[in-house]
């Protein structure tokens, strides 16, 4: 009985520490100013330029995208979960494009952390991705946070006053139920 009480005591003391450490592993806190200034290579495709509403030929920043909200998937061609989730993310893009309340207002894009243009192209072709994917060979996305990127990470970004991005949600790992995920995104952007 005494031993059981000691065990219970230890559990009570350590539980918050454990919860914090797990939470710590799973969080991705973004510096919004750095996110807004982050430079991405302009897409070559006219369709993707039109989708994002940008005219830049070389590089652009997230602040230049014409949208009320963004879903940014931080992925890697090498990440097995990103590969397994690719079809679902494609469906997410499809659902947004079919929804008159979201189409044109919420844009989806992917950033291939550590990936070269060649590697991103392999991912795009393999999974038939229709939304813009950008290479991030120099790990520029990592510079927006002190927390280590885990792939996939989905950032829901609201475009605030002066086109400044405001992170409204962070989801790390598998999407889970697609409709619930989209509902959460839509709510947080409103």
């Amino acid at each position: 009985m005494k031993r059981a009480l000691v065990l219970l005591g230890i559990l009570t003391v350590l539980a918050p520490v454990w919860q914090e450490s797990v939470k710590g592993e799973e969080q991705f806190r973004v510096n919004e100013a750095k996110l807004g200034q982050m430079q991405l290579p302009a897409p070559e495709s006219a369709r993707e330029k039109k989708y994002l509403g940008i005219s830049a030929d070389k590089q652009f920043t997230l602040s230049e995208i014409k949208a009320q909200g963004l879903i940014i998937e931080i992925f890697s061609m090498y990440c097995p979960i990103c590969q397994a989730e690719a079809e679902k993310v494609n469906k997410l893009y499809g659902l947004i494009e079919k929804d008159p309340l979201l189409k044109g207002k919420v844009k989806v894009l992917g950033v291939g952390t550590g990936n070269t243009p060649f590697e991103v192209d392999v991912f795009r072709k393999k999974f038939g991705t229709q939304f813009p994917l950008f290479p991030d060979e120099g790990f520029v996305m990592q510079e927006t946070s002190k927390d280590l990127i885990r792939t996939p990470t989905f950032l829901t970004v609201k475009i605030g006053k002066g086109n400044k991005p405001v992170v409204a949600g962070v989801h790390i790992g598998k999407i889970g139920n697609l409709k619930d995920f989209l509902k959460t995104v839509a709510t947080s952007i409103r």
């Binding site: 559990l11 797990v22 392999v122």
Partner: protein, 202 residues
């Protein structure tokens, strides 16, 4: 009835261990990165590669994860071969390198090349690790015992007993045509490997 008496210290150790394991399980359940051991930044290379372009590639005969023997010589005159040595299972870069190659099969097919994945881990560890990568189309072999013997033959066994992160492209005559003993901390660019494989067609 016999009882095992334990002191308070073992009780604390057992409790902390249990909590740590539960923590890994929860983190791992949501995101596999939670199961990955991070060794931190390592010395980029820690061996002297003995195989260079133009050399005959040393043969080997190792078991894959289904228990089948895989040798280099079995591909002589039939297929080019890429040997992909990765340092260790359940570590950061290694855990993504082969899933990347898994969706790049077209480049191997295009150049009539077989990929063989190889590490110094034992078969059960490799089995559990590669299971979570999806269905790999290429064989993975264990160079566990005699420990790292094949890595040693290629001159890429590090002082701590793991191999370098290394790629060897070997043509159908068994001649080494490309060597990349890579910084262990970083991923080799896919296009560099694809370029080396495409050169085999020239």
């Amino acid at each position: 009835m016999a009882t095992v008496r334990t002191g308070i210290i073992p009780t604390i150790i057992a409790t902390v261990t249990a909590l740590a394991l539960v923590g890994f399980a929860v983190a791992g359940g949501k995101n596999l990165d939670g199961s990955i051991y991070n060794p931190g930044k390592l010395k980029p290379t820690d061996s002297k590669v003995t195989i260079k372009v133009g050399d005959k590639a040393p043969d080997f005969d190792l078991k894959d994860l289904s228990g089948n023997n895989v040798s280099l010589n079995q591909f002589l005159g039939k297929k080019n071969v890429v040997l992909s040595f990765v340092p260790a299972a359940w570590t950061p870069v290694c855990s993504k390198q082969w899933p990347g190659y898994n969706i790049a099969k077209e480049f191997f097919d295009e150049t009539d090349t077989m990929l063989i994945g190889i590490t110094v881990d034992n078969a059960p560890t490799l089995y559990a690790w590669t299971k979570q990568m999806g269905d790999l189309w290429f064989p993975v072999v264990s160079d566990f015992w005699p420990h790292g013997a094949v890595a040693q033959k290629y001159g890429i066994l590090r002082a701590d007993g793991v191999s370098e992160r290394a790629l060897f492209v070997i043509d159908k005559k068994g001649v080494v045509r490309y060597v990349d003993v890579h910084d262990i901390n970083t991923m080799p660019k896919l296009e560099d490997l694809v370029g080396a494989m495409r050169k085999l067609k020239e």
